[in-house]
Symmetry: C2
Amino acid sequence: MTEIDDVELARSQPTIEQVAAAAGVSRATVSRVINGSPKVSDGARSAVSNAVEELGYVPNRAARSLVTRRTDSMALVVEESESRLFADPFFARTVRGMSGVLADRDLQLVLLMAQSTSERARLKRYLTGGHIDGVLLLSHHGDYELPLSLKRAGVPVVLGGRPTSRVSISYVDADNVGGAHDAVTFLVEQGRRRVATISGPSDMGAGVDRLRGYRAALGEANVAYEEGLVHPGDFTRESGEEAMKVLLERRPDLDAVFAASDLMAAGALRVLKEQDRSVPGDVAVVGFDDSAIARTTDPQLTTIRQPVEHFGREMAHMLLRQIETPDGGVQKLVLETELVIRGST
Amino acid sequence: MTEIDDVELARSQPTIEQVAAAAGVSRATVSRVINGSPKVSDGARSAVSNAVEELGYVPNRAARSLVTRRTDSMALVVEESESRLFADPFFARTVRGMSGVLADRDLQLVLLMAQSTSERARLKRYLTGGHIDGVLLLSHHGDYELPLSLKRAGVPVVLGGRPTSRVSISYVDADNVGGAHDAVTFLVEQGRRRVATISGPSDMGAGVDRLRGYRAALGEANVAYEEGLVHPGDFTRESGEEAMKVLLERRPDLDAVFAASDLMAAGALRVLKEQDRSVPGDVAVVGFDDSAIARTTDPQLTTIRQPVEHFGREMAHMLLRQIETPDGGVQKLVLETELVIRGST
DNA sequence: TTGAAAGCGGTACCAG
DNA sequence: CTGGTACCGCTTTCAA
């Protein structure tokens, strides 16, 4: 049975030398053509182009980057398990924003994941070993070992989300405090008084800040802050269900919930429905993100819109700026959020 | 306001030369220590180790791979949009399987996405340019341009899912025909006679084969195959909803649905509920994948379990074998599936 | 066990 | 506009 294109194996890649020979010019000229230098005669240019075409020449990036010090690729590092990475629409949209910007500059985006300690060690070697020109770091938790190592090694880094401790690393963040504040203020204005919150992880800026916004809003409205109305999740749907159960158990009289992510809010809705609490009649619910699922829940979710694609784009821009201007100092950017009112309040 | 670790910028990475100088040995000896050669005296070894530690030396991978011809990293290429990649749990589990195997060999897995034509061109340059040692290709559609180019360039490739045309490329696949066959046979045995199917994309092996299994099972059971009972989706939940609506419109009398993915089955369930058809009373539903959502639908989904982590592992193993034995020929592996019966039938 | 030196495949400077 | 050539940082003979 014949199969098409049963090519001879691994005829080793042609080198610039061979292209030069085939085109009857020097290596230098081939290099000029490849890199689009204007100072090449048309004759030479077309001879080289033909040779490249014929031999299927592709420049060896290792050799090139050894001298240029660039690789033309950027890493997106996600310190998160595959399951969360792939379950949370936040990542997909962020990636879309980033890759758009990078694609315009013909930069390749490579995605790297790391969980276990040994994986993280390998990852660090990979990143500092010159495989990539810069790093976009998403969903980092408490420990700033990696970004600091990178900075120390001279690898440009931009964080997604502000760091929770005082490290001088550039970042883009959403206005989590403001967003949470708006959400809770809105609930209070609707007459809710026993506003619970399913907060995010305390080792992530987004977790801490959304809780802070919640507190601030209650304070301004002269509503007492009660520990019993606060329970943390980890941004997943499952953790939202879990937290909602705990909160209802603890405070059956709660009349509103602010969840620090839409996924957790969706989990909360499900539990409320199971326990026959009407939404928004008995309990009002607000999420955070305005991700796609906010429109698929029943009722649809009132939530805080984050400009997620924009977030990704800004991270990429910041990284590019950092590469162009290595001594540009630490950059910080906070993006506004917006309250989106739907059926759950 | 002081911020910790405000390091001096980009003190250029130390080279092996500097380590050698610091340790009072030659470059060759440093290299031997780095690469764990046994033929180094203890004295030299510890001197080098100290110097490495002190200077924070990390080998330049470009320089190394220029000579070794290896990069110790493998690419996972997904020819799919970010949104589908991140929405389908299939990918997460596959990645987990792969990265486990690769991590054991201290190989870095890098994930690459490509959609637009220009992105694909860049991706091809990246892959053939020597950035990686091998490619795992997932969710490829009709066109085999990329894997064939890679093969031609001597880059080892393994496909996830059999190719839809006769190209001689190694692959791992699930027994999609068999799985679909089992699903539909089960439905028929339960007395269902008007079994519809929401099939997968016709440019993907999984799509074609699951439809083939459906047909085969009907044939064996002497149930006529009807075009009107078949409508395609693209494995997403949305497409499942869409297809279910079309099918109900066309054949209001259908009494069972075999969906080629759990996500599509979940979409179908939702539409059935909206239209007040009881499941499994009026309509029985079977999915494919046994992904996490199969247990979160109401009722829980009867489905075909694919060994997804195993799938990822086998792909990685196959790729490693191919790298070790470049002339080993084309490898093919088909993994068994299993019917899992739950509430939807 | 160690060091000297020859590349690996490019880029870019310097003459011409 | 073109070619010759000196590196880039590392691995790997080959001799010592």
